[in-house]
């Protein structure tokens, strides 16, 4: 007598199919669970100094802050500054409200510049020259930074640190990471991470207690002399009281609206100028009126 009756015997393909369905269900369940809750990362410890894990934790700390403000003291070697033979220092104050508002104020010997993004438009105000430009940009901070970068060829200073997904932007620039130990930066104990990328190699110091970036030194490898950018972060506040009105640019009465030139238009201009260096803009007949003297 057969152990099993023919009625309960199944073809091999049937059993395989059933196994595949079960496996698929298990995988889908695991994926659903993974997506339904944020990853729980253990607090960094002496035995858990994985640089990628620390970078993720720093990014999550920043991303989880609905609103944040911080200051950056940025130093740039002269080779990184256009039309300049000297290094540049700038004090930058950044305020952000997730997901779609930020303001950055940069104060350097060039003057004071403010960048506003209110979720609908981005404005840059040259406070020193009283000139501003506004372009329509909607979406999140990440959307705005990506669009401005692509169309207008710039990003707000250190924008990687205010994106809604900082890890994504940072990891795209990093090819390898290493943990260099603990060091003190301005009296704060930090993890020292060494990050190597195609364009720049960076050293990043992240606070051991609060997992916030404290210092960044980026060395640009493809430039003669390997110039450096140094950013010292301070005054972190991950729960500031920010009125939405600070992200909306209101043009002062004496400020003039000027064009924000796209990367494509500038490239076209560059090509035309190369072909005909003496080309000019259309003649204008109105007699100029002197209104202000510069220095």
């Amino acid at each position: 007598m057969h152990k099993y009756s023919p009625a309960v015997q199944r073809p091999i393909h049937y059993e395989r199919g059933r196994a595949m369905i079960i496996c698929s269900a298990v995988i889908l369940l695991a994926l659903a669970l993974a997506c339904s809750r944020p990853a729980e990362n253990p607090a960094p410890t002496a035995s858990n100094n994985d640089p990628d894990q620390l970078l993720r934790q720093m990014s999550e700390t920043l991303a989880q802050a609905k609103k944040l403000t911080f200051k950056v003291d940025r130093k740039l070697d002269a080779a990184l500054v256009e039309d300049s033979m000297v290094a540049e220092n700038a004090q930058i104050e950044i305020s952000a409200s997730r997901p779609g508002k930020f303001q950055a104020i940069s104060n350097s010997k060039e003057g004071v510049r403010r960048i506003f993004f209110d979720g609908q438009k981005l404005s840059i105000y040259d406070e020193t020259m009283k000139l501003y430009a506004t372009v329509p940009v909607s979406g999140t901070i990440d959307d705005a930074v990506a669009k401005i970068d692509k169309e207008y060829g710039f990003t707000p200073p250190l924008a990687e640190f205010i994106l809604n997904d900082p890890y994504k932007a940072l990891s795209q620039q990093i090819k390898s990471k290493a943990y260099k130990g603990k060091e003190s930066i301005a009296g704060v104990e930090c993890h020292h991470l060494s990050l190597s990328g195609d364009v720049a190699d960076s050293d990043l110091w992240v606070g051991t207690a609060d997992l916030l970036p404290r210092k960044l030194v980026a060395t640009f490898k493809d430039r003669e002399g390997s110039p450096k950018l140094q950013a010292d972060f301070s005054s972190w506040n991950l729960a500031p009281t920010l009125d939405d009105s600070i992200f909306v640019f209101a043009a002062p009465k004496d400020a003039e609206n000027i064009e924000m030139v796209t990367e494509a238009k500038m490239k076209e201009t560059a090509e035309k100028e190369s072909a005909a260096p003496e080309s000019t803009t259309p003649q204008q007949s109105t007699k100029p009126v002197v209104t202000r003297k510069g220095t």
Partner: protein
């Protein structure tokens, strides 16, 4: 039964190929989206720049310039020469120094000045 099996597995294979193709397209779309989001700048320093040759202007794969500012084409300056005057022409502000007129524009996140003839 065997015919049914072949038919069944065959459909499975076709479905699997379709799934692979769809997954491929989705993966490609995700990668493209990631690439488009990837910043062309590193901490505000551009990866590319306009480089002027004796007769040509090309975009070179090298880092230059900061706070977004790219290398400027011929006819543009980043800082006005000393002693400039602000003037208004047809309601628009220009700057002049030494008989040369400049029109301000915003480029690369900062004010630049393009030489114009008035």
């Amino acid at each position: 039964m065997e015919t049914t099996n072949i038919d069944y597995s065959g459909r499975h294979r076709v479905a699997g190929e379709r799934s692979s193709a769809i997954m491929g397209v989705l993966l490609g779309a995700i990668l493209l989206a990631s690439a488009s989001v990837a910043l062309a700048q590193v901490y505000g320093v551009r990866r590319t720049a306009v480089v002027h040759g004796p007769n040509t202007t090309v975009v070179a794969s090298r880092t230059t310039v900061v706070h977004g500012g790219a290398a400027l084409p011929h006819g543009y300056i980043a800082v006005l020469p000393g002693g400039y005057h602000a003037v208004v022409v047809s309601g628009a502000r220009y700057y002049t120094v030494g008989g040369i007129y400049y029109r301000p524009q915003m480029y690369g996140g900062r004010t630049v000045y393009v030489r114009v003839h008035i």
